[in-house]
Amino acid sequence: MFGQLLDPALLTKPPVDAWPTYQGDYSGRRFSTLAQINQSNVKHLTLAWIERIHVGIGQGAIVGGEGPVPEGPPTDPGVSTIKSTPLMVNGVLYFSTPDNAWAVDARSGREIWHYTWKTRGGIHIGNRGMGMYGNWLYFETPDNYLVSLDAQTGKERWHTEIADVKQEYFSTPAPIVVGNHILVGTGGDSLDVPGFLEAHDPETGKIQWKWWSEPLKKGDPGFESWPDEYSMRHGGGMTWLPGTYDPDLHLYYLGTGNPNPVLTGKSRKGDNLYTCSIVALNVDTGKLVWYFQPSPHDTHDWDAAQTPILIDADIDGHPRKLLAQANRNGYFFLLDRTNGKSVVTAPMIKTMNWSKGISPSGQPIPDPAKEATIDGVLVSPATGGATNWPPPSYDPQTGLFYVGTVQEFSMFYLTDTDPHPEGWGAAERGVGDFGGDLEAIDIKTGKIAWDHHYPFGGGPVGMLTTAGRLLFTGDGARHLVAFDPANGDILWHAGLADDLSNGPITYMLDGQQYLVVGAGDSLYSFTLEP
């Protein structure tokens, strides 16, 4: 491609003068090799600019979409919250919220263009960001369209429907670009629909392959983990967060969501593959190569969708290709990413009470007594999980994995006593929590190397580590904080107008290292005082 903005080779390297994909690079580590900003000068970080977004039609927005013209500006708070990780390519930041996408000058924070989508509906809770291929951008909408824009102008090239909003699908992921595949997932678990991942052609939007998260009929892979076709058709296994990719193994790694009905398993006895699973797919064919299921037969909404981070490290003196995930169910998992075999399984929170232990294969063993009953059972974590979608980070300099966690309890009451429940099937009532933690986990043992406790805040929040020996994250009390990743000492902080709401990014531009974070409706850019 001539004169393209994004050189595809960038995607396979640690990000330096670009942040070209959701995770910065394919590994999902969110570790930058940049060290201009480092422990010795982080106290001199200063605000470069703030850009506040204005959503919806008006102020010169380019308008697309299949829905009616809205009667007023969007009021859903999810639309005005930047949960997306921006891309930065050639001095331009690209980011999105539900139904909205922007290009912003990375030097000044000024808007270059704004695209807005007239929606047909769907849940507008968040959007993780965009994917880029050459000069083209891709993002997904709550009413399940994949939209491609011209990065230069923000003008729409095409859009294509990937799922039916009337069946309660809604789409939040950032598309991931691997070769000439645009990898697109979806979400939604209100009405018992199956999940899938699709690859689309970057030029035409046409579908290349589709992988279903569960068997659709007897004889399909995984069918023996469901009692019948009725139950497998109720599906689940939503693909609502971006995955990671190993170019050498040619595998795309993805975590899948919960099975349906969500909080009761009586109509779906068995492990319910491939829900709540980490799967490795051949990126050219969409065929499953291996899987590991962190929550067999989940009945608590503990998606395994969290970022599967790819790590190369020595275990017992031997170099290994590994994959680490801090899971919503409260466990940390380290796998061999060539075959999906368990290396480490370790609990991340003390309150966890749903598991009877760990099987020889490294899977937690669910305690059936902690599945919702009519008179209620007390379970930790709550459905929101010990952690959730905000991106964690792995720092190869410390060997530690950084993740925000929370220790909550909920009561789970069975409300649908039909032999074939649908929807959620049970009600949850939150009854208390023991605060949040920033945890630094030693990947080789699963032990917590250090922990920063927040009695009233913290919890799942985005992380970034850098070669400057810095860990940037939020504290749930509106601060952007720089920690020493080796020991958890606080080195710098800045008060923002809202809580950190995305994963921080960093890049070099004009010889300066920048740090860019989203907090609520604004992007903040920091750099060193000249």
Binding site: D76, P77, I123, I125, G126, K166, T172, G187, S190, L191, D192, Y230, M238, N258, D301, D303, T351, I374, D375, G376, V377, L378, A382, T383, G384, N388, W389, P390, V406, E408, F409, S410, M411, Y413, L414, T415, D418, E422, G423, A427, E428, R429, G430, V431, G432, F434, G435, G436, P455, F456, G457, G459, P460, D475, G476, H479, V481, I490, H493, G495
Partner: protein, 284 residues
């Protein structure tokens, strides 16, 4: 919490909830309850006329229930209609109507000569059933009084140490006459949060902060903020006090008068909860 899941999603987060509490509990401490407050609900579609829904239910049960199941989730012959793409895309019976009137002879479904109103009623009932299935905040908690009241009483007087603060002839006298079982259980498990069913949740201030300066001067009051860099409180006179937190102080003490209830969460078995509930409901 009922509130958490109005935010119908996978990603409900601790901080989102804390922020919602801060918005909701405008008059008091923003940080007393990181959990559980109602977030803005998705705007529901206009609810159909309940009489029409009722008629539709009756018609469906007698004419359609044999094949599709009385709850429309599917039966021996007919498919699940709550997850039917045709039904989900229907508006007011316009797609369902032709199927009812003409049947599906190829699949063994006969035609039904229903009036336009009957078709609309059936459609309204199906759409309201779908809405009830997908709206998990509308799910009704069933009978939770299954435990042994004697065992609950023993726990109350013994292992639970409940009598160190409570008395069934004092503060808890007649409590079961005031609250239903679900509310009572909620008050026991989460007393810093009053959430009588159907009413907006109400924050109970359980926390206080005491900040002691290096000089020895101290301030006590209702919590306004506590993070790694700042502590703030409002004292009994209504005055707001804010302090920077550094290595050298000030010293901050957090007092939660309901800490014993929070700590119970790590000790209670499900049987203890059921038994205590069965006992509490006897305190009429």
């Amino acid at each position: 919490m009922r509130a958490r899941h109005l935010d119908v999603s996978h990603e409900v987060s601790h901080k989102v909830i804390r922020a919602a509490v801060a918005l909701l509990v405008t008059a008091c401490a923003p940080l007393a309850a990181p959990l559980a407050a109602p977030l803005a609900a998705q705007t529901p579609p206009a609810a159909p006329d309940p009489a029409s829904v009722e008629r539709g239910h009756a018609t469906f049960t007698s004419a359609c229930g044999f094949c599709h199941g009385s709850n429309a989730k599917g039966g021996e012959k007919g498919p699940d209609l709550l997850r039917s793409v045709l039904v989900l895309h229907d508006e007011g019976g316009e797609s369902i109507g032709p199927v009812i009137l003409h049947g599906r002879p190829d699949k063994g479904m006969p035609a039904f000569p229903f009036s336009a109103q009957q078709i609309k009623d059936i459609a309204n009932w199906l759409h309201s059933s779908i809405a009830a299935t997908k709206d998990r905040d509308s799910y009704k908690i069933l009978n939770i009084v299954t435990g042994d009241p004697k065992a609950g009483e023993a726990y109350f007087n013994g292992a639970g140490h409940c009598t160190s603060c409570h008395s069934v002839t004092g503060d808890l006298k007649g409590i079961a006459a005031k609250y239903d079982a679900v509310t009572l259980q909620g008050k026991m498990l989460r007393p810093d949060f009053s959430w009588k069913e159907g009413n907006p949740p109400h924050q109970v201030i359980a926390l206080s902060f005491t900040v002691t300066l290096p000089s020895g001067q101290s301030f006590t009051g209702e919590p306004m903020n506590l993070d790694d860099f700042n502590v703030a409180l409002r004292d009994a006179n209504g005055a707001y006090h804010s302090f920077a937190r550094t290595k050298d102080g000030p010293r901050v003490e957090v007092n939660n008068r309901l800490q014993a209830h929070l700590d119970l969460l790590t000790r209670l078995s499900d049987a203890d909860i059921h038994n205590l509930t069965a006992y509490l409901v006897t305190l009429k």
